[in-house]
Symmetry: C2
Subunit: 433 residues, 2 copies
Amino acid sequence: MALVVIGGTAAGLSAAARARRLDPRLEITVLEKGPVISLGACGLPYFVEGKIRESKDLAVFTPERFRKERNVDVRTGARVVSISHPRREVVLESGARVGYEKLVIATGARSDSLGIAGDRQPHVFRLQTLDDAERMRAFVRERKPRSAVVVGAGYIGVEAADALRRNGLQVTVLERSAHALLRADDAFTAAVREQLERHHVELRTGVSVTAIEPASVAGVACDMVVISAGFKPGAELAADAGIEIGRTGAIHTDDRMETNVRGVYAAGDCAEVTHLVSGRPTWIPLGTTANKCGRVAGANAAGARERFPGIVGTSIVGIFGMGFATTGFSAAEARAEGFTPAVARIEALSRPRYYQGTKTIVELVADKATRRLVGGCVIGEDGAAGRINVIAAALQARMKVDEFEQLDLAYSPPFAPVWDPVLIAAQQLMKEL
Amino acid sequence: MALVVIGGTAAGLSAAARARRLDPRLEITVLEKGPVISLGACGLPYFVEGKIRESKDLAVFTPERFRKERNVDVRTGARVVSISHPRREVVLESGARVGYEKLVIATGARSDSLGIAGDRQPHVFRLQTLDDAERMRAFVRERKPRSAVVVGAGYIGVEAADALRRNGLQVTVLERSAHALLRADDAFTAAVREQLERHHVELRTGVSVTAIEPASVAGVACDMVVISAGFKPGAELAADAGIEIGRTGAIHTDDRMETNVRGVYAAGDCAEVTHLVSGRPTWIPLGTTANKCGRVAGANAAGARERFPGIVGTSIVGIFGMGFATTGFSAAEARAEGFTPAVARIEALSRPRYYQGTKTIVELVADKATRRLVGGCVIGEDGAAGRINVIAAALQARMKVDEFEQLDLAYSPPFAPVWDPVLIAAQQLMKEL
């Protein structure tokens, strides 16, 4: 049996590795269009910053190592230009054809900058590939730009702003929507703005960038530009092959990660998944989801029967040492999904004051009709990841606020206060229901 | 209506405060036998260490402040010697009587050192009251002892050992059972021992202390002794009044925190609660539980109808900067509770290596028959509290490993690796089921 995987990053390699583990005799080929595999794109801003010194720390596997340790045929520089399912083969840019019996599509996302004029100038960067990051770092170190504009206040955009600011640049972030970090949440965006401004980074929302001038963007003077916006699912190959695309624009699959074409799976940033709070398909491209879906796609392609139930949309971003974490829906998003949201937002200490507790903001959102938690966010320098994960676990378990309020969470002065901030938020939320 | 609360610490004050909030006109009296109220006993080791400078940081409320802000009659030095329910009154040591219509018993736990000879010597300390802590701190500062024996390797015992070691003493911990931190778990105890030894504190298990000599305990020479063992529920008052005591030795209540005597509630370290994993009563005296039960007891005493479903037994202790966190049952405990445990224990990094990730140990225990998670522990310098809380939430939601493995947890290099250690443990556990 031959399994072909298109894409050699999180989802693709997870699929290949898992298939290999379940079936030692499967013939597995990974086709990666770029020069490296297993790139941890989430590390790119830290490479630009200088926190990650060597590019090899960004890619766990070389093709040779993956080939040797997993017995998988890994081909880099192998761009697939079409899938011919009737013939069970994919066609490479070189004209070569690779036959398959099972196929996993893990073609990722792409930044679509159509409509931004001047985006090919040498001082304009993206931050998706290792080459992008190496070019940007070299530019910062050699050309010593004094100012930068970042287009897009998503995760990577904000992290790039942080990285450039730490390198001494004057940084401005321009965001087309009214909100930062992809969350329709005014208070959360205000907190992001406040933290950026505390570190002299300006965030301007509601700014549509249509052109990049040689020394400015949208009237903001700058020596360099980072474009981190317009991400879309890389679903064209699949669409051209007649595979069903969902309403999110990403490839639609069932909970086995199988597309409408039997034997063809999709996983990672090119595929949509079920949002467990709404029950509807969603497209939230993140490495955690890519790894999980890839594992399930690989397992099923190798003949197992595994399920990927879905996600709740958990994320965290560090901005100058402060964690901005979210899961589920904001109140505005919950309303748009048909819930009747109740909201509580509290400030509390992360630990007792005598143990250097720092300010922690917790917001919880519940549905008034069912009393179920539907989302939350946590902002703080200390423990934000652990706290958002507790909320995420509660969302996944469809927990009501009544039950969440009674969670038996760990307490000891070096770690947390006797009433954890998430429980204080839950008590407050009970009053709103 | 008159509500009397016996005990002015976590459970008692939570009950009084909550009752006041629900009924502004209730007559509320808190009777506290000691000189202070709202003592955060969990902070006592940090006061001895010197991390907490002033004793006022250990007690949030003075009686005056609680009286003024909550309109509650708080009496200190008011030791209750009996409850006469037929007369609806409690009798104080002074002979005075206080009538009630509703009663909340929050008499805490006590350290029963019966059987240890020589425990009244001036170099022998306990660590339960503010006076205990002040005396111990003064002794350490003024007498400059060079060595200490701590009797009991429970939470407070281990924290006291840490505090004394940080003050330069040579410290030995003697524990009667085979295990540290109250968990029947050989690997966990080994990890505690290793961390203590790394900081030159010796842990000897299986050592029964029957006498304290003037300059040694069980053959270990020492200049001072801390007894932190033999804790029992303070249930005598209730038992003498004919209130039902459970098999754990603590006061039995229903899920409204009401005892078998209508109108009499119990909460905190004197009361047993339901263990949500086994469904059976348990006695795990902790401040978090005391606060939650106290709130529910107070609410119901004031006429509301609230439930306290139970606990899963979550705790964390810091030992020289390393968090030792547990929830639910160890494998041995699970077996004793009638489960058929499967166990996975993994080591992973708390964050990516390039972001200073440190070694984190996660153990998960599931029941083979139902695939339900029944316990876990997390050991690490970074994120142990957040990770144990995710497991605790999963226990409370009766989650199966299959679902836990798919949790959508936050990832970003400054906070966590793309596969969180708890998820790696879950993957491992899936193979054991």
